[in-house]
Amino acid sequence: MPIGRRTLLGGAAGGAALALSPRGLLDYAHAAAPEGKTLRAALTGFSVINTLDPGKAAVNPEFFIIWGVYNTLVKFDANMKVVGDLALSWTNPDPTTWEFKLRQGVKFHDGSEMTAEDVVFTFQRIADEKFGSPVRKKMAAVTAVTALDPYTVRIKTDKPFAPLITYLTNTRTSTQIVCKRAVQQMGDEQYGRTPVGTGPWKLAEWRPNERLTFAAHTAYFEPGLPRCSALEVPLIRDDASAINALIAGGLEFVNAVPYGDTDRLKKIPSIAFSSVPGLNARFTALNIQKPPFDDVHFRRAVSMSINREAFIQAVVFGQAVPSQGYIPKALSWAYDEQPYEYAQFNPARAKEELAKSKYGPGTEAVITGFPDAWWKRMTEVFVDMANRVLGVKFTVELLDARTAFSKWTSNDGQAWPTGWISLCDPDEYLFDCFHSTGWRNFTKYNNPEVDRLLDQARQELDREAKGGPLYKQAERLIADDCPTIFLMNTFSNAAVLAKVQGYEHLPYDGFGAQLAPMIAT
């Protein structure tokens, strides 16, 4: 029998103990926690995890883990509806006041009870300038957080701030509730490496740049969860290698599937492939301060020269839907179904717009892209399509991802095919990126009417009925100006072994938030 087929990434928990016994030498592959099953879920494409302190976390892989270690006041379900998590219910006594009733008897990993005191501490910590949380500015609308009693928390904002509810979910918010006692005992830095949360998974071992191992939080408040007694998260840089490991049975779950592998995975009976519209936006950001993209007609021409259906086939093998704005389909209440004029492929009209612009065919521009996997394809295909339709002379410049990203944020360059992932609120997409005061508005787009609509949308606490139309209106105005060429909204693709039960795919690639109910049968 080939010992290794089922292998490898498994067996950390029991492996060390078994290694020295004669049986262990032969049977290392079966070494699992004796009391139950180990779930092996790979994080692919990443190896950087600097902290598991939600207040300090910044990049996706950090949050992917944090979602399984902590809880928040509320959370998104699979339909992106906000439901309770640590809070059982909440009310708005007035537009600037939010009151949350907390669940009772919730235990941290260290056994202590989570109360309103911890919630208050969490928010005060984020607001503390000395602590230096990346989300401090984002939460600036919050003026006070107080505990009315051990199980009631009140949050005050300076003015009505509708997106607040999203900023309290278990996504990339940094508002995951930390354990006050543990933070004060060990200090901020240590807490980032030995986190204490209320979530289903309790960190057992962290091998930097390699893998993390977790034990089940036996006192977790949701009954029967987590179903496995241990969790292993190997950090796999090369996503193609992760798929190989999944096929060979070395993993139960892979959080992201390379777009080129989807067809093949669907044909493998031992694997269940899962795909939902993702929470992301893929686009080419333009430098509207510099030629040639300082001319609105030129921008529209380029936007209409891109055949988005063909683009999607060529770049991600069909694993996306065309997008005409920033807001992804998964945020259905703010998503505009009506076509935007300049976001449609139309070579004839593209040439008309080109004729109206200051620049003609033969115009040169350097398009700065990322070198990794399909990002590179995105840049190449974008350039190829624009060149073919308009006769312009765009060229590709690939830079290492950090450099390319810094160039974009410092407005250095002409155009950057890039994207946002895991943003969960229309406000994050539109206000942050296109409001004249938005911090992600790197190319200084400024449209007073857009500003007005977005300011107003922030005040509408009835988001679906009143906020949604405002976001749609604003996005349509932005799309007319084309400060960014919207391209596609990619699917969130994941693969689990068919024998795994309890998997529910969250659109925001909710890695750690999905693992508790999962178990291999």
């Binding site: 193609a240 798929i243 592998d261 086939q313 060529a314 093998f317 190449e380 590709v396 690939l398 290492d400």
Partner: protein, 286 residues
Amino acid sequence: MTAPRKPGSGMWYTFRSNRVAQAGSAILLFALVAIVLVRLFSPYDPNDKDYMSILLGPSLEHPFGTDSFGQDVLTRVAYGAQVSLLISVAGLVLGGLVGTVIGMASGFWGGVFDTVTMRFTELLYSFPTYVLALCLMLLLGYGSRSVSLAIALVYVPNFARLARSMTSATRAENYVTAARLMGQSPARILLREILPNIAAPLLVQFSAGLGFGIIMEAGLSFVGLGVQPPTPSLGVMMADGKDYFQKGPWVLTLTGFSVAWIILGLNLLGDGLRDALDPRLRRRLS
């Protein structure tokens, strides 16, 4: 003992009787003819993206299949081989020149200069080649020029050490002493007397390095640092093929075969050259 021959003819003679060199030349010739033929007669442009025919397997129309942009792999290999070879040659010429100048100078003059430069080459030598090249690429950014510079940097210490040891060995030889006594300038001595006598091993090092240069270009492309698209290079093509290995294994497999074929030819030729040029070996053969 045979009658003395002209210096060049001896080399040619050994080459002709050297089966290894012949095999290498035959392999390279085949590759060269194939490249020329493909470039002359291929109906495809290497950068012609055809989104309707992405990742088609090998067929009569596309003997090596198509890649993830629908580009003809064989045509791209033919163009990419030239790009990769040029990058490698440029890197080695630069590394060889700089290394040889440094090495000859320190071998000839010795002293503090020698100590410092040799320490420096030792330093370069202590870093793993790949990591060294990668850091340089991060610094210089993408593109064929950076790749060439990275290859050059890796080869400077090799050439410097080789040139130094041979220069200091020839320093004591009679013809060098004679030239010095005749009052020739050091530059002239180095260039006219010493260089011709140490050129052979340097050339061998050069030919051996060519193949490695191509492999290094491929390795840098593997982590996403390489030649800017749409320029086809063998390394970039293999890196792309790796990304879509499950969907279209022929891209990586066949490009890799072509690369191995060319490097094999270069290595065999290098071996043959060494036999033909290495005076020690040549003496033994005659």
